[in-house]
């Protein structure tokens, strides 16, 4: 029941990698901006800082083959040298006025989202755009109060002041447009044409509130104009606009190894189009070794996460392969290549679909970068056309579960990436081999040093989920089994034994988990240590099972012998009964001890958990 999909790749427009490389190298250059990521609560988010007028460092613009102007709009009133435009094409992406774009900063992992409100070329032939910003919820969390935002909701900046908008040259060192973004306004304002359902499905983000950058207020009212542009332009467009298809796009950053890693690509490939044929532009290649994806998840049997996933096209351009099939390299030991996993899902109708989870592995080798080993979150959506599996992956936002599309999406939080754990299979893995029974594997693993014990998991996790968690977070294929609870295990603390592929893997995993913190959904950091298992008790009988030493065995009648070796109730007038009752008492006492201990431990944990500022809510 596994279908292997081979996806085609269409080379992007830019084939001149060399030229791009030099231009891209600007990201590698030390970035000027200081990101104030986590002190953002006091200030108005990193936006503030970046909008001080920093000297722009531009690369050579005029000779760029990737830039071309679109429709002209008019000449500037004051300065005749200024020419306004309605659109331009850059890197193969057509950006028009009032489009929403991703702007990436070199050291930020998450792109900013802004709406282009003005495009012009100055007399000095500098190409500029003015962008009004959208705020992510995490950036305004301080002022949110009780408002609950949807997963992919943004806030439009309004008012006057820093952080409202920026005028940037199109090609900018610190910040560049990396792609188009689909933001739909769901406000019930009368001036806003209500979006259709399919618009909502294709939307990357939605917004219905504004954030006044001066008064720091969040409101659902839209003022008449923002940044001197009428508010109607911020709302949805009237007609169903045929936006040009653009191919994945600004992958931009294929970093050379030593560079500070730039969060990278966020290319939107889905384009809204009212017509039927939604074509995903997600054209990727699968190398033949990836064919086996089909099997894995199915054999796991538990994969069917029919979540709606929305996949961002990560299309870093691999520098080596400029043409033809772009190989998505898996995370290799050098750690720079982004990786991607394929997943097979079982849908209701038993057709397996391949859902691509564009995980962007932003693994930078240098330890200095903050991005470190964060796994980029990706949006994916499940393809709906079940029939056409061999074709290009369809981005279809039809929710196969039928739940509302909004809830399904998880937005990248800009402080630290939330990794959603879904069935994860690493390339090259194969579950065809019959595995030894778990017991033996444990022993073997202990000898080899590949056994790790994970603690503080949610006790209701299954073994497969633990494997997935380790897979996603640590990017390693492991086999895991939850430790079964018994009468004296803490019901809040789940443990699992995990067997890694090699002892180095195990070592690195342990040290990683020790130094950094992997937080699980409800505020639990995962604790790891070397696993040791006890040898099974040699059959020597249990303390408490007494035998009278002096009775010779043969004196015992046949029934007596049988009685000992099987089972019976004790009768109340025997010594046995009294002793049994004593044991009972001891058992009860011990259960009370455990209860007390667990309660105390639970209280301690709760105390700490209360101090957590941002537990993730599921």
């Amino acid at each position: 029941m596994c279908v292997c999909v081979s996806l085609h790749f269409v080379p992007f427009h830019f084939s001149l990698f060399d030229a791009n490389l030099t231009r891209r190298a600007y990201f590698a250059a030390g970035c000027i901006l200081q990101c104030t990521q986590f002190k953002a609560f006091e200030k108005l988010t990193p936006h503030c800082d970046k909008y001080q007028m920093l000297p722009f460092r531009e690369a050579e613009e005029d000779s760029s083959p990737n830039f071309s102007w679109g429709v002209k709009k008019g000449k500037g009133a004051l300065n005749k040298g200024v020419q306004f435009y309605k659109s331009f094409t850059y890197e193969g992406v057509d950006i028009s006025l009032y489009d929403c774009v991703y702007m990436c900063r070199p050291d930020e992992d998450e792109p900013d989202i802004g709406k282009v409100v003005k495009i012009w070329e100055t007399a000095q032939k500098k190409r500029m755009v003015k962008v009004v910003w959208f705020f992510r919820p995490t950036e305004v969390i301080h002022w949110l109060g009780n408002i609950k935002l949807l997963d992919n909701e943004l806030l439009l900046a309004s008012g006057e002041g820093i952080g409202l908008s920026n005028c940037n040259p199109v090609i900018l060192l610190q910040e560049a447009i990396t792609g188009k973004c689909n933001v739909v306004c769901i406000s019930t304002d009368t001036r806003n044409p209500q979006p259709k359902d399919e618009d909502l499905d294709t939307a990357d983000f939605v917004f219905c509130r504004t954030f006044d950058v001066r008064t720091r207020e969040i409101s659902e009212e839209f003022p008449n104009s923002i940044a001197q542009i009428e508010v109607e332009h911020y709302f949805n467009k009237e007609t169903d606009q045929k936006q040009p298809l653009h191919h994945g796009g600004k992958g931009s950053l294929e970093k050379p190894q030593s560079s500070s890693s730039f969060g990278g690509t966020t290319t939107k490939t889905v384009v809204k189009d009212g017509q039927s044929g939604r074509s995903t532009q997600l054209k990727k290649a699968t190398s033949s070794s990836r064919e086996r994806h089909g099997n894995i998840s199915v054999t796991n049997g538990t994969v069917a996460r029919t979540e709606v996933k929305y996949s961002c096209c990560i299309s870093p351009t691999s520098l080596s392969d400029s043409h033809a099939l772009k190989k998505r390299k898996l995370l290799d030991s050098s750690g720079t290549a982004p990786f991607e996993q394929h997943k097979v899902m079982q849908s209701k109708s038993q057709v397996t679909k391949v859902v691509e989870k564009g995980g962007q592995g932003n693994i930078s080798v240098t330890d200095k970068t903050v991005a470190g080993t964060e796994v980029k979150h990706s949006y994916c959506t499940s393809p709906t056309s079940l029939s056409n599996i061999h074709a290009l992956k369809k981005r279809n936002l039809q929710d196969s579960l039928g739940t509302a599309p909004f809830e399904q999406r998880k937005v990248m939080k800009s402080t630290s990436q939330v990794i959603e754990i879904t069935a994860w299979v690493k390339e090259g893995a194969s579950t065809w081999f019959k595995e030894q029974p778990w017991n033996e594997r444990l022993h073997v693993a202990q000898e080899r040093g590949t056994l790790v014990l994970l603690e503080n998991l949610d006790p209701s996790y299954t073994s497969a989920e633990v494997e997935d968690i380790v897979g996603r977070a640590l990017e390693q294929k492991v086999s895991a089994k939850m430790v079964q609870h018994n009468t004296f295990s803490n019901s809040l603390n789940g443990k699992a034994f995990v067997i890694f592929k090699s002892s180095e893997h195990a070592e690195t995993a342990i040290s990683k988990l020790k130094k950094r913190c992997l937080m699980l959904g409800d505020g639990r950091p995962v604790v790891a240590r070397r696993g040791t298992i006890e040898e099974p008790v040699k059959c020597s009988g249990l303390p408490g099972h007494l035998s009278i030493g002096r009775i010779k065995f043969q004196k015992l009648g046949e029934e007596m012998r049988k009685a000992v070796s099987t089972s019976h109730h004790s009768q109340s007038n025997t010594i046995e009964h009294e002793m049994a009752v004593e044991w009972r008492a001891l058992q009860e006492k011990s259960s009370l001890w455990w209860k007390a201990l667990h309660e105390k431990q639970a209280a301690e944990i709760e105390l700490l958990r209360g101090k957590l500022k941002s537990p993730i809510w599921n």
Partner: protein, 200 residues
């Protein structure tokens, strides 16, 4: 999706029908356990729980799946009310109803989302999380210690009982000897006391 939910529902049902038995002797084998509980109902499956983390000397445990939840409940109440011994006396076994976490091969709960994230060191939660980790470790050690103490207590009780058992036994032997050999009767005659008639 439905297949998943069915599977999960079947699993939950199984959990309800399963008994968790504690304080088992390592000598008790599956057949013994089965025979023991067969008196009460239909035993479908017996599975021993391998404990990897506990020390030597702790009792074995097992999960027994019965045919119906009612049977399971009856057994549990019976075992709790009067001491039931399997493969050795006088330490009785303990039974309680099973919970899902006791099974290590359970299916995924459908519709569950797990998220996790790596914390950056500058995240304010990082400190808290590190503390939590330390506390978890401490808890694990505490649990270990408690287990050890429990084992010690058990062994102590066992020793006490063994001693008293032996003492009682020797007393009985003595009496038996005396009566058997007729010493008691003769002594009674001598002292003109009546001796209760003992049916032989």
């Amino acid at each position: 999706m439905e297949a998943l939910m069915e599977e999960y529902a079947a699993f939950e049902d199984k959990v309800k029908r399963t008994i968790y038995i504690d304080n088992l002797s390592p000598l008790a084998k599956e057949s013994v356990l089965r025979a023991a509980l067969d008196q009460f109902g239909n035993v479908i499956q017996v599975k021993f729980i391998r404990s990897y983390l506990e020390m030597k000397g702790t009792a074995c445990t097992a999960l027994v799946e019965m045919q119906s939840a009612k049977e399971a409940k009856t057994i549990i109440s019976v075992i709790c009310n009067s001491p039931f011994m399997i493969s050795g006396m006088p330490r009785p076994v303990r039974a309680c109803s099973a919970v899902a976490e006791m099974f290590d091969d359970r299916p995924r709960k459908p519709g569950r989302k797990i998220v996790c994230r790596w914390l950056k060191t500058s995240d304010p939660d990082f400190e808290v999380a590190m503390k939590m980790k330390l506390i978890i470790r401490k808890h694990a050690k505490e649990a270990n210690f408690l287990l050890k103490r429990q084992l010690e207590e058990e062994e102590e009780l066992a020793k006490e009982q063994s001693e008293s058992l032996n003492a009682i036994y020797s007393k009985y032997e003595l009496i038996e000897d005396v009566t058997k050999s007729g010493t008691a009767i003769r002594l009674a005659k001598r002292y003109k006391m009546r001796i209760a008639d003992v049916d032989r």
